[in-house]
Amino acid sequence: MAAIELRGLTKVYPGGVKALDALDLAIPDGEFFALLGPSGCGKTTLLRTIAGLETATGGAVVIGDRDVTGLQPGARDVAMVFQDYALFPHMDVTDNIAYPLRIKKVAKAARHEKAAEVGARLGLDHLMDRRPGQLSGGQQQRVALARVMATQAQAYLFDEPLSNLDARLRLEARTFLKKLQRELGVTTVFVTHDQAEALAMADRMAVMEAGHIRQIGTPSEVFQRPANTFVASFIGSTPMNLLDGVARGDTLEVAGCKIRVPVSAEGRVPDGTAIVYGVRPEYMTYSAEPADGAFGGKVAIVENLGASHLVTLDVGDVIVQAVVPEGSEPAVGDDGYALPRRDRALVYRDGELV
């Protein structure tokens, strides 16, 4: 078990594409850490650079108290689960799980015993003689996890561990992975493009964009106080309302409505500054009656989210979305008012949180 630290880590691909731009990141021992970002943001490159499959152009990777920047992947004492699991198709489950021990020259009997032990822990005991081709996606994933557990490495790296599972299995695997990581207590870094996955599983997470880390924090910090408009628009299963506005004394003029300055920005936006007002649809109170400091408009679309509805209001020429509990959803064409929660709304200036 060990902490992972990245210092000014830079990766430039031949041809000049800067995949990682001087990243600093510290992941304490035992943490479940998510790297989240849209495709092409460099999150997989970052994971592969930690693993040693890509060589860093600059900066350092420190695992535990060892600088491993110049070391081969095998010498770094990390274990990795690949997106496609990369189970060896010509070996049965036992041999797959025992493969890392075979490389470490553990005797056959000892490594098969270890494989059986780890396999049993992950509920694979009745599958140990099968080949990967005879397993379902979820079983293959557990074999890949078992193989990683057999290494007893200092840190685990998971590349999109859930993306190859179907939707229902993914939710189960999410819970399973989080529980397993907690029990093992091994520092784990995983890459995902699914913000819900990162929020659900991670102890802390980094949101990446174009080779930069845009925010590091716990899932609640990142969800409630996105540090910039990129993170704000990327996180959340219903996109955050991000509306252009201007500060007017102690109110904000947003989409033609007068909105009170959020608690977090009180006294910090001088008169006349151009701002972006951000509030999540979940933090809006919807009402059919006009209210002070609310967005008023016509209901354009009502989307069913299951236990609630997402109501889209046409406010002037912008749209404002609010989540309405079931039973009180309006009809399309009604007049509606959405009142933001002052303690949850945010103000961004030049793209950064005020």
Binding site: A51, G52, L53, Q72, P73, G74, A75, V78, A79, M80, F82, Q83, D84, Y85, A86, L87, F88, P89, H90, Y99, P100, R102, I103, K104, R131, P132, G133, Q134, L135, G137, Q140, T151, N164
Partner: protein, 272 residues
């Protein structure tokens, strides 16, 4: 309707003629050895084994088949080992001008064992003291087969996902361990294909052994076939057909064996 029927009749007639063209020589090959006095006709054999006795009594016939085995297996082993290593490297390491190199090699290979290179190859073998040596012949045949083998195997290697190897690398496997544990098992059908192809190529090669081996005790079956004449200078059809049958059986058996053993591909382990 009549046009359709006529078209069908024409089509099947054409197929029948084509089939006969290829079948009749094969029929001759399996009937003539069992006929007492074979001609170029296909006739119902009288099931005599005299021809086989004659082949057995021929001083060079059976040893030449063994020579063929030595030459073809020797070359095949060399070709498979060297082509596998080269193809793996070429498939995984990005070199500037790699594809140009491969195509140039492929082009040159048809020259190396081709007629154009006979004189220089002969001279080279003389200089290196490899004339009349089976080892020398194996080396030259291997050289001729390698480029095409590398080219074909590289294709196999390219189509195996890299994450298998990366996974082994992260577990600490050395490059040679990766090749042994992961790459070779994955491309085994490809290796088997190359081996069969190399054996069949050397087995049927007449020109190179004819040029480079003058000692009749070292000559392979392909060259010995050429010497099967009657005293009158006529082709000895009973010997030729019988020897031809014996000569073709091992290749057919090898093909059947390999196709049964390796004629499948592994699936799974990589989620697509």
């Amino acid at each position: 309707m009549t046009r359709f029927v006529l078209g069908r009749i024409g089509f099947y007639t054409l197929v029948a003629v084509l089939l006969a063209f290829f079948t009749i020589p094969l029929l001759w090959l399996v009937t003539a050895p069992f006929t007492s006095d074979p001609t170029y006709e296909v006739k119902v054999p009288d099931f005599t084994l005299d021809n086989f006795r004659a082949v057995l009594e021929h001083p060079y016939a059976l040893p030449s088949l063994w020579n063929s085995v030595v030459l073809s297996v020797g070359s095949a082993v060399l070709v498979v080992v060297m082509a596998a290593l080269a193809a793996y490297a070429l498939s995984r390491v990005r070199l500037p001008g790699r594809d140009a190199l491969l195509y140039a090699l492929l082009l040159l290979s048809s020259i190396i064992t081709g007629t154009a290179a006979m004189v220089p190859l002969f001279q080279l073998a003389v200089e290196l003291n490899l004339i009349d040596s089976q080892l020398g012949l194996i080396l030259i045949l291997t050289g001729g087969l390698l480029p095409a083998a590398i080219f074909m195997l590289k294709d196999f290697m390219d189509s195996t996902p890299k994450s298998y190897e990366e996974s082994a690398r992260v577990f600490g496997a050395s490059p040679l361990q990766i090749v042994r544990h992961v790459v070779v098992p994955l491309v085994r059908p490809g290796l088997a294909t190359i081996a069969v192809w190399a054996v069949a190529n050397v087995w049927g090669n007449f020109l190179m052994p004819y040029l480079l081996l003058s000692d009749v005790e070292k000559q392979p079956a392909a060259v010995i076939t050429y010497t099967l004449y009657t005293e009158g200078g006529q082709a000895n059809l009973s010997m030729l057909s019988t020897f031809g049958l014996l000569y073709s059986i091992p290749v057919v058996l090898m093909y059947l064996f390999v196709s049964k053993k390796y004629g499948f591909r592994f699936h799974g382990g990589i989620k697509r």
